[in-house]
């Protein structure tokens, strides 16, 4: 019998190398992702469940799952779930991201006065 095909998150029992015990301090944006999830998951809002977050991460698919860091997977899953639940629209997210990138770049590289 052939072994079943594993999805990329299903790691239990596989071989791997030694554990890297280095620990990094969380960057501010990573804590912010954690805080967004907790707010959307809390009893009053009850917009996202932890199961749904995990399902969203699992649906990122092979290739993407391995490539993204931990909190990158979280924000990707949260974003997809907010679109799925009709809380945000994909177009408005795209527009907002373009606006933020423009804003940040202008802060870092102010237009030269002519």
């Amino acid at each position: 019998m052939k072994p079943h095909l594993r999805r990329p998150h299903d790691l239990g029992g596989l071989d791997d190398g030694p554990i890297d015990r280095n620990e990094h301090l969380h960057e501010p944006w990573e804590k912010q992702v954690d805080a967004i999830l907790r707010l959307l998951n809390d009893k009053t809002r009850n917009i996202l469940s932890i199961d749904e977050l995990r399902r969203g991460i699992e649906e990122l698919g092979p290739g993407i799952y391995e490539k993204l860091s931990y909190y990158e997977r979280w924000i990707a899953s949260i974003t997809n779930l907010l679109i799925e639940k009709n809380i945000l629209e994909i177009d408005e997210i795209g527009r907002k991201m373009a606006e933020i990138e423009r804003r940040w770049n202008e802060d870092r590289y102010p237009p030269k006065e002519s």
Binding site: L11, D15, D16, I19, H24, W29, L40, I47, I87, L88
Partner: protein, 207 residues
């Protein structure tokens, strides 16, 4: 097997780092959720402060109380959440099960599918807990993995690995070290580390 990149880069000087797609996404989602009144900037700040306040000291307080009060330990083994509430701690709304180490049994926790962890009592999980290597290997060769943490468990002791889920989390009640009879609860709590409550190390031996 393809060699993976580290899941977390070490912290960089943000001034020198180009913004990543996902950092931009995080800010965009935050601003849109503010605009739609899903939560406010004050809600976000309060939540960030709550994350910073959570750490292993809360879990260690529970363990120290369990060591000195057998009735409390029994209540904790029935429900960590209600035992934590007794001490004025907020364990969150996901059930946590305490698994107790004995001379015959050593417990260790993992989340093979993701990163479920008793974060309301111990704080955010360390990078290695979320790593591919720990999640893959600890269920198959726990004794070897524990050795990497400097923890030697006798072959006579059974090792039980508990795989956490979104709906049930675990924390380990370590064995109380010898020669601690005269120590009070707050001194005992200092012998309990995050890694002890994950089960990859034993409680510290007093100096």
């Amino acid at each position: 097997m393809v060699k993976k990149e580290p899941l977390h880069p070490h912290q960089r000087d943000l001034e020198d780092t180009p913004f990543t797609h996902y950092q931009i996404m995080t800010t965009a989602i935050t601003e849109l959720l503010f605009q739609k009144n899903i939560f406010s900037p004050d809600d976000l700040r309060a939540q960030l402060e709550a994350i910073d306040r959570k750490g292993p000291a809360d879990g260690a307080r529970l363990i120290a109380r369990a060591w000195v009060d057998p009735d409390f330990k029994e209540r904790m083994k029935t429900s960590v959440n209600s035992a934590a509430t007794e001490l004025g701690l907020d364990p969150g709304n996901i059930p946590i099960l305490a698994v107790e180490n004995t001379p015959e049994l050593h417990n260790v926790i993992v989340c093979t599918l993701c990163s479920c962890y008793p974060r309301m009592l111990i704080g955010l999980p360390p990078d290695w807990y979320k790593s591919r290597s720990y999640r893959a290997r600890v269920v198959r060769e726990p004794r070897t993995v524990l050795k990497e943490f400097g923890t030697e468990i006798s072959d006579k002791v059974e090792i039980r690995v508990h795989d956490s889920t979104a709906d049930l989390r675990y924390m380990v009640i370590p064995m109380k070290p010898d020669c601690t009879e005269s120590m009070d609860e707050s001194a005992l709590a200092k012998l309990v580390t995050r890694d002890t409550m994950i089960g990859v190390t034993l409680a510290k031996v007093p100096d």
